[in-house]
Subunit: 151 residues, 2 copies
């Protein structure tokens, strides 16, 4: 999660997009990391988790990322959670929640990862509130910046 936070801070310093970072890990190996690049690319799919998954795919021999987990500074949005489920990533560790981010003005579908698992028949294990304090500090730091667009 420290690496995910570092990615996110780097992304907001560059103006690449929102305050989000993610890292795909297998055992003790960091497979790939990413931060939100939506502003940089004008591509609404370029969330931190999606960037990390796309980068990780270059090291994989199948679209199923067996044995991998992902660390996300905020609970993955509906798009990212479904991508994690497609990738068969086993577990998500996240700090702040979809609701915390909705309050910042992001225009997202407000459905928790837990609910998506239940409704959709997913089986991704969830660890909520992981380093939540540090992840909240990241959102606060972004909120204090002069420009913060919520795409």
């Amino acid at each position: 999660m420290e690496l995910a936070l570092k990615e996110a801070y780097r992304g907001i310093a560059r103006g690449d997009g929102g305050p989000f970072g993610a890292v795909v890990v297998r055992g003790s190996e960091v497979i790939a990391s990413g931060h939100n690049e939506v502003l940089k690319t004008n591509d609404p799919t370029r969330h931190a988790e999606m960037c990390a998954i796309t980068r990780a795919s270059k090291k994989m021999s199948s679209p199923h990322f067996s044995g991998c987990v992902i660390y996300s500074t905020t609970e993955p949005c509906v798009m990212c959670f479904a991508a994690i489920n497609w990738a068969q990533i086993q577990q998500v560790f996240f700090g702040t929640t979809v609701r915390d981010v909705k309050r910042l003005g992001f225009n997202e579908l407000v459905i928790s990862n837990r609910r998506l698992n239940t409704l959709g028949g997913g089986s991704v294990a969830l660890v909520a509130g992981f380093m939540r304090h540090e992840c909240q500090e990241l959102l606060d730091a972004w909120g204090r910046m002069p420009s913060h667009e919520t795409y």
Copy 2:
């Protein structure tokens, strides 16, 4: 939708991935098209809609695709529908449904677009069953192929 079907047939002929195509349109202009490239890339995020959105983003001046609609041969999966919502695409036209595809063995979260709109507070207009017969023929054609992996 004819172009989306053509994209999908091209994709399965090449072995790029599953039998899915999508086209982003604004007014009478085709902005971008895509087909499933999950097998080609080992990237589980490379669904037809995501490929089309990523390509479309290169022509956009913002991550919000004002005035655009999308044609998808099958109802967008949870990931793709959330991406469409992020892009503020106004309307989705689709042929076959998430349930039709689940029956083929794809490992997806089974939640309809209608339900995602209702639960998550989305506002994407839906036109289901658009050229459904032709879209079902595409799934049938893929089902008859000797190899059809369901990533």
